[in-house]
Symmetry: C2
């Protein structure tokens, strides 16, 4: 299993791409390597690399390679996200999608072709680097499917499939000859929890080499029963197991690509415990490919307008000092290294995904399915697997996943809807604080 960190450059955050300072990057990456991790996730800024729909800057690609090679020198592998896109509440959208040039990012033919070309060119630039672990289409690109991001938005779930197919294919084309690197895409959790969102859990499980999950307990999970309750520290484990329900193959890998300890819902003094319990429970998930913590370095305070929570997510503080969460992270990673995968739970909790079922609000923190899963996990001492109602009659599917017992859950989501009105919560159609 891989352990990594999402690399948020010290000093000037991702704006550092405008003034790339290899020495500063090398210092940061040495700090990351000192945590005992094996990889970093990197985030180019899309408008800087593709300032015109038809122009990709050679120097922009070269800058990414500079950081990739510095990571290699620090002993770190890299995964690189292409379309940023969205980072920590900020959108970076090129001028050729704004105002007079407003077009749908997911369906306009010229835009999709340009995105393919960008993903392909970036992947091709990276392809020969031995430290390349993988390419992700972009960070939570599904953010752009709905408000408050620039419209026009996406409403068609099949369009999302077509878009993902083309992006994944473009990355593979760019990586041609490199059979080791994984190609993935990443979504924020509206895909799992918001009944109206055009990206769906099946998109996580159905595109790319791994199913990618970002776990953020400010979505309501940490407020349900407190930051160290099961419903909070098991949220990452839950989301990974929930996602696996849509996998075609029982052995498809899952990647906890983002998980962090958000101090708006997890007080500083509990953050290290939250971190350790979260990583330990997630580590039990069968087929877990890796866990990548958000993030390496605190956002400097002189950069305004971030949601307050973003300033405190780093394992290193603004002065470059290792924080208590950083110490606990390093210790937890060391403890979890070499621990083999657990056998899967033989209990399958059945999620009613039949047409018309509001299965996503039921799955959301506070929803009936969410609560049932947490109750079962506490009763059994580990998280149950999740089985779709539409697949309970497939014996091979259940056998392949080692599921011997099915528990059915009846949806009743007044609770979820009530929760959705609370601060920092997420619910069907509810706006929520943005995350990377």
């Amino acid at each position: 299993m891989r352990f990594g960190v999402n690399y948020t450059p010290s000093g000037s955050w991702f704006h550092s791409w405008l003034d790339l300072d290899p020495q500063a990057v090398a210092r940061d990456l040495d700090q990351v390597a000192a945590l005992g991790v094996d990889h970093v996730r990197l985030f180019p800024l899309w408008p800087l690399l593709q300032p015109s729909r038809t122009v990709i800057r050679d120097q922009g690609l070269a800058d990414v390679l500079t950081v990739v090679d510095l990571a290699g020198r620090a002993g770190l592998d890299v995964v690189v996200d292409a379309v940023q896109g969205h980072l920590s509440s900020f959108d970076f959208v090129p001028s050729w999608l704004e105002s007079w040039h407003r077009r749908n990012m997911f369906s306009d033919p010229a835009v999709v072709t340009a995105l393919e070309e960008y993903v392909r060119r970036l992947s091709a630039a990276l392809a020969d680097r031995p430290q390349l672990l993988g390419v992700t289409v972009g960070n939570e690109v599904n953010q752009f499917a709905s408000a408050p991001h620039p419209d026009p938005h996406l409403t068609d779930s099949a369009e999302a499939d077509r878009w993902l197919d083309r992006m994944i294919t473009a990355a593979r084309e760019g990586l041609a000859g490199n059979d080791r690197a994984v190609v993935t895409h990443a979504m924020y959790d509206a895909a799992w929890y918001d009944d109206a969102h055009p990206f769906e859990p099946r998109h996580a499980a159905g595109h790319g080499d791994l199913s990618v999950v970002h776990s953020w307990v400010f979505n309501g999970a940490a407020r349900l029963e407190g930051p160290l309750a099961a419903s909070s520290v098991r949220h990452a484990e839950y989301l990974l197991l929930l996602t696996a329900a849509w996998s075609a193959a029982p052995d498809r890998g899952v990647w906890l690509q983002e998980v962090g300890a958000p101090t708006n819902v997890v007080p500083d003094e509990l953050a290290a415990d939250f971190l350790e319990q979260t990583l330990r429970s997630a580590a039990t998930v069968p087929g877990l490919w890796g866990m990548t913590w958000w993030c390496s370095h605190d956002v400097p305070r002189r950069y305004a307008d971030f949601p307050e929570v973003e300033y405190g997510l780093g394992l290193y503080d603004e002065q470059g000092r290792l924080k208590p969460t950083g110490e606990r992270f390093a210790a937890t990673v060391a403890a979890l290294r070499g621990v083999g995968a657990s056998p899967p739970s033989s209990v399958g909790l059945v999620l009613d995904d039949r047409p018309g079922s509001a299965y996503r609000s039921a799955s959301a923190p506070g929803g009936s399915f969410y609560r049932a899963w947490m109750r079962t996990a506490e009763a059994h001492g580990r998280g149950p697997q999740v089985v779709l109602r539409s697949r309970v009659d497939e014996p091979d599917h259940l056998r392949g996943r080692g599921i011997a017992t099915l528990h059915y859950v009846e949806h009743d989501d007044r609770a979820a809807r009530d929760l959705a009105t609370g601060e920092g919560s997420v619910g069907p159609g509810t706006a929520r604080p943005a995350r990377s």
Copy 2:
């Protein structure tokens, strides 16, 4: 009188700020200097200089100074626009005004304070350069007052005054000690022609050291009677004289900061004649401070998505060859140099600006006042001055401007409204092709 060129860098247009190449800039500026002009107008990209509301990049400022100094070496003075903002149909808006951070650019207190700081810092960086002619708040920032630009938009004309006051003051503070440089702001012509636009002609005449005009005949003027008719080649002259009607002092300077030969309405074979006739008629305007042609270099074809007209506005083509308009421009500038200012026309055409008057649609190409002005100009062989109806009873005002005769115009703007439905035309509330 000053003659200049709006500098559009060859090779990679304003995206060249991402990969500043001093040698390429020096080559470009030598070409500009060879036209016989005395100044260039420069356009930093705002999001590159102020990537965070509270951070202005030192290197961004240094890059601007590099170009300023290369201009000085080429024998050119410079005027620098701060807030771009909008250029040739493209918006460059920093991420701290997008999506989750969506705020009004003109009235949000934190945003206005940040803009002040940016204008002040940029002006301060430029202040000691002997080649600095002036600072403009930004290129057609009034574009952002209405659709299709990112909202929220501006609806309050008094708010526009407050915003302009603060930006002009910030520039002056930055320039402190430099008494030579002029401080200006620039608007596109919705301020003069669109009854619903919150920026108004009085904002051109009432803020900054000069009244700035951008003349673009694709607003309907060139289609009225053809590209070489008076209603087209006198458009710049008209807009300058129209603007002067709002000046408090009779001797306030006016600057034709942008004028070009748009090939969507002026065919290539007529462009040089259009250019010469436009400059010659504008040169007769009393108090004309300067004329600055748009633009130096054609937009390279490999940069997609520009309106077709934008690819052909340069005096040099994509291969760096002087175009026929470039030759004619140089010859016209040489011919006009040293020609003294004309005495003002003694005829004042009265524009009914009383409350409730749709004076802006009447002023727009095809509007009743526009047509009356053109008829008068043709009858007298020169453009009449414009007097506001609200000021006809001020003898000192008329005497100060040398106006002896008043002609009254009755508004009847069915014609203007009909014109507004035509392709490429402008009219009240009509969207129109964007321009720099």
